[in-house]
């Protein structure tokens, strides 16, 4: 199969609230896939459903060709997960928890984990209970990378890291991607990280994924248009591709999806207007998509 993760019509809710509604998403193998969403949009719920930690109410999930609720041992060897916060047994040292985790896997790259510990300034003898949040998070990342999995799933991996550490993390991710075929799926709301590293992006909104695709295509497709003309009204601009529209006295601002130069020309002709096209970075795209 050439898809690492396939999600079809996933539904998941808690008590009276439904979090994920008929969500479908495909994550191809070898991609670095970013999941963007506001806080509380359901990113963690989605990730937990994908990993089989919680059970969806309906729909189908397939990870590396296997059913996540009942992973085979071989599949588990190929998956690495970094949760949002997790502090294992606080009385153990860094070295001890790494050895403990390594004992479960047939393959463990001690050289890699030693190097990462050095680079990220984690001493072997540090007690887990005394680590700061950032250090604990770094430790979790090391624990997920040690067995060199083919699929890495990160849930807000850099939330508690300072900018230097974030950059180190991104570098490590990129090294992994360069070294061997690997699929990386991570959720975050730090768009600048995604822009560096991800080649595909999905936006989670209202329990669905209204936008998913290559990041470059997203940047080329979604633009903001400033239309300078007199006498434009809100009703003049309607259609599927329009994400947001605002009309002022002599100006209208539109955020559009599926932009082509022909659209610009069409608007210029129709309203005898001057149209400026603004490129939007991922943060602005995210804001527009979430209005």
């Amino acid at each position: 199969m050439n898809n690492a993760i396939v999600i079809q019509d996933l539904c998941k809710g808690f008590r009276d609230k439904s979090v994920l509604k008929d969500l479908s998403l495909v994550i191809p193998q070898g991609s670095v896939f970013g999941l963007l969403g506001r806080n509380g949009a359901g990113k963690t719920t989605l990730i937990k459903c994908v990993l089989g930690l919680i059970k969806p109410q309906s729909g189908k999930v397939e990870v590396l060709g296997d059913d996540p609720w009942d992973f085979l041992e071989e599949t588990k060897e190929r998956i690495g997960y970094v949760p949002q916060t997790d502090r294992p047994y606080p009385w153990l040292t860094v070295r001890q928890i790494i050895d403990y985790t390594a004992s479960f896997y047939r393959h463990w790259n001690h050289g890699l984990t030693d190097r990462l510990m050095r680079e990220w300034e984690l001493a072997s003898s540090d007690k887990i209970g005394l680590l700061s949040e950032g250090q604990a998070q770094k430790l979790n990342i090391i624990l997920a990378l040690g067995h060199e999995p083919g699929l890495l799933v990160f849930d807000e991996p850099v939330a508690s890291l300072d900018p230097t550490s974030r950059r180190q993390f991104l570098k490590t991710v990129l090294e992994i991607v360069s070294d061997r075929p690997c699929t990386i799926f991570f959720s975050t709301h730090i768009t600048s990280d995604l822009e560096r590293v991800a080649d595909r992006v999905a936006v989670l909104k209202d329990g669905r994924v209204p936008f998913a695709g290559e990041l470059d295509v997203l940047k080329e497709e979604i633009k903001r248009l400033r239309i300078r003309a007199s006498g434009v009204r809100l009703e003049d601009f309607k259609g599927e591709g329009i994400l947001h529209r605002e009309v002022f006295a002599h100006e209208a601002i539109l955020a559009v999806r599926g932009f082509t130069p022909e659209i610009k020309q069409a608007i210029e002709q129709k309203f005898k207007a001057q149209v400026d096209v603004e490129d939007l970075n991922l943060e602005e795209i995210f804001l527009e998509l979430n209005r």
Partner: protein, 135 residues
């Protein structure tokens, strides 16, 4: 030459312009200005990705598009090099294309500040003269 990818490329990851497009534009600029001569080798995809801290697939995409457009050529075992004969002929059009975005910005800014075209052209002439005097 395969050292310091950063000497050739400068990318803004959080720009509205996709990274691969920035890379393509920069290669074209370098070719047009002669900074990159035909036959010269570009740093490998891996090296560029590692130094600029971007996804190797992005760099790879830029390189293959440049290859398709005929700016780059793949030499077995050695990497990507500038194709012979790419910095000639439509040199001028290419160089003019580089200027257009900047000039557009000037026009937009001028209209925001309510400065007319004659005024701006005059200002441009003065500044040009001053820069030329400095050199």
């Amino acid at each position: 030459m395969t050292d310091k990818a950063r000497a050739y490329f400068q990318i803004a990851a959080s720009s509205g312009v996709p990274i691969y497009r920035q890379l393509i534009d920069q290669v074209k600029t370098h070719v047009a200005t002669g900074a990159l001569k035909p036959g010269e080798f570009l740093p490998s995809v891996r090296q560029v990705a590692a130094e600029l801290e971007v996804n190797p697939m992005t760099v790879s995409k830029a390189y293959s598009l440049l290859e398709k457009e005929g700016v780059l050529e793949f030499a077995r075992g050695q990497g990507m090099k500038i194709r012979e004969g790419s910095a000639s002929g439509d040199d001028l059009t290419k160089r003019e294309d580089q200027m257009v975005p900047l000039l557009k910005e000037v026009v937009v800014k001028a209209s925001q500040l309510s400065l007319g075209p004659e005024k701006v052209t005059r200002m441009l002439g003065n500044i040009w003269k001053r820069e030329a005097d400095h050199e």
